[in-house]
């Protein structure tokens, strides 16, 4: 039963698998994005309160969701790499970090653009915004630590420890920030507006989330392949792959 797992951990196999999956993931992501963008931007009715401004939600919410879940994926991959000493898992963790950081930047930027007409300010020290910003700092710290080691294996293991400590901290950061502001500020503006969201607005959002996840997987395939190329640059199997194509 574990055979596929060990097989997947071998770089040549993973390199080939990632190449095979990538177009499927990318194309399904793009098609779903077009469908849900049409659903969100054209079919969905304007919000009774926010008018058309709420439509930025279709970029904002998926990227905010992914900014958190990519960090968890990264920490799980790093943990697998640390415990079972699988180099490929470390490569996956290393590949996750920049993608997650960009999703975080995207969530912050779209949130800021959304906040300008809705709250009248580009930036508000709201718990959600602040915890998202701290999330970005965690990604940046992880990448800074990795880049400070010349030796890839040491960077892998040091980064893995940081990622795991960081993931323990993610819920603490999230809740501490929520608690921190609850003293001064009244009920904060809920991101989804009304208590429940109408279905013509909801289905494009869910579809867009799926599209973002598929897109993440496609980009991850690319980045993992690049990591494998960099790490295995002296391996003989790579020479035969290069000669074959």
């Amino acid at each position: 039963m574990w055979l596929w797992f060990y097989k997947l951990a071998s770089p040549p196999y993973a390199y080939a698998i990632a190449a095979r999956w990538r177009p499927w993931l990318l194309w399904s992501a793009l098609i779903l994005m077009v469908i849900s963008a049409y659903g969100g931007l054209v079919l969905a009715p304007p919000d009774y309160q926010q008018k058309d401004a709420f439509r930025i939600m279709y970029v904002h919410v998926p990227s905010a969701t992914l900014s958190l879940s990519v960090y968890v994926i990264m920490a799980v991959a790093a943990g697998i790499g640390l415990i079972w000493r699988i180099k490929l898992a470390h490569a996956v963790a290393a590949a996750c970090a920049p993608i997650g950081a960009w999703f975080t930047v995207l969530a912050l930027a779209t949130g800021s653009i959304w906040g300008r007409p809705m709250w009248g300010t580009w930036w508000e020290w709201d718990p959600r915004l602040t915890s998202e910003l701290i999330q970005l700092f965690l990604y940046l710290g992880y990448m800074a630590l990795r880049s400070s080691f010349d030796d890839t294996q040491r960077a892998d293991r040091a980064g893995a420890i940081l990622a795991i400590v960081g993931v323990v901290n993610v819920p603490i950061v999230k809740y501490s920030v929520v608690w921190w502001n609850s003293l001064h500020q009244g009920p904060s503006i809920s991101k989804l507006g009304a208590p429940s969201i109408a279905s013509p607005m909801l289905w494009p959002l869910l579809l867009m989330m799926l599209a973002f996840m598929l897109y993440f997987a496609a980009v991850l395939c690319d980045r993992v392949r690049a990591e494998i190329l960099r790490r295995e640059r002296n391996a003989s199997w790579l020479a035969s792959v290069a000669a074959g194509t």
């Binding site: 800074a144 040491r154 501490s176 921190w180």
Partner: protein, 226 residues
Amino acid sequence: MEPGLLQIVMLVVARELRLAVRHWDQVVQPLIFFVVVTTLFPLAISPSLSELRNIAPGVVWVAAMLASLLSLESLFRPDVEDGTMEQWALSGQPLALLLLAKTVTHWLLTGLPLVMMAPWMGTALGLPVSVWPVLAGSLALGTATLSILGAIGAALTVAVRRGSVLLALLVLPLEMPVLIFGARAVDLATHGEAVAGPLNLLAAMLLLCLALGPFAMSAAMRVSME
């Protein structure tokens, strides 16, 4: 005869205290830094106590956090450079325990003086005397947590040349919850409200760090010494 674990901890603590007495300037410097940073705020914002009183909890906490960060640089580096840490790792004794003992001593030498000094700085910024116990208590719980979190970061970056900026970048985001609850407890106390909630959470974070932190420290240290 094999020394017991408690005996080893006492040996480490005694060694650290002896070293600190011989290099007492390294113990005093973070304290001076703490006072200097706190002095910057009245200069930058306003000398009026009524204004300073509002920001005093945050100012004292941020200054304490930075002072604790500053002292981390010297936590493991000398021992790694002169080979002591390697001997510890090879000694067959639990490295996590040795590092924890070292961190606890480090807190006694840097955290505890900060805790004792903070009420004076708080008073200088206009905090009422009634807040002293909460300020000192929150800082005692908080700086201990900061020491453990910081020790994990210090162990990770000890092999990196010029690692101090990197250390700050790694450790500060992890330390933010401590800052939030610590400053909040003091803020609540200045308004005469109940402070048990944030103090309990600070204590919970300290216990969590005490339980899991040493293992992260020793894993990080082993990576750094490869």
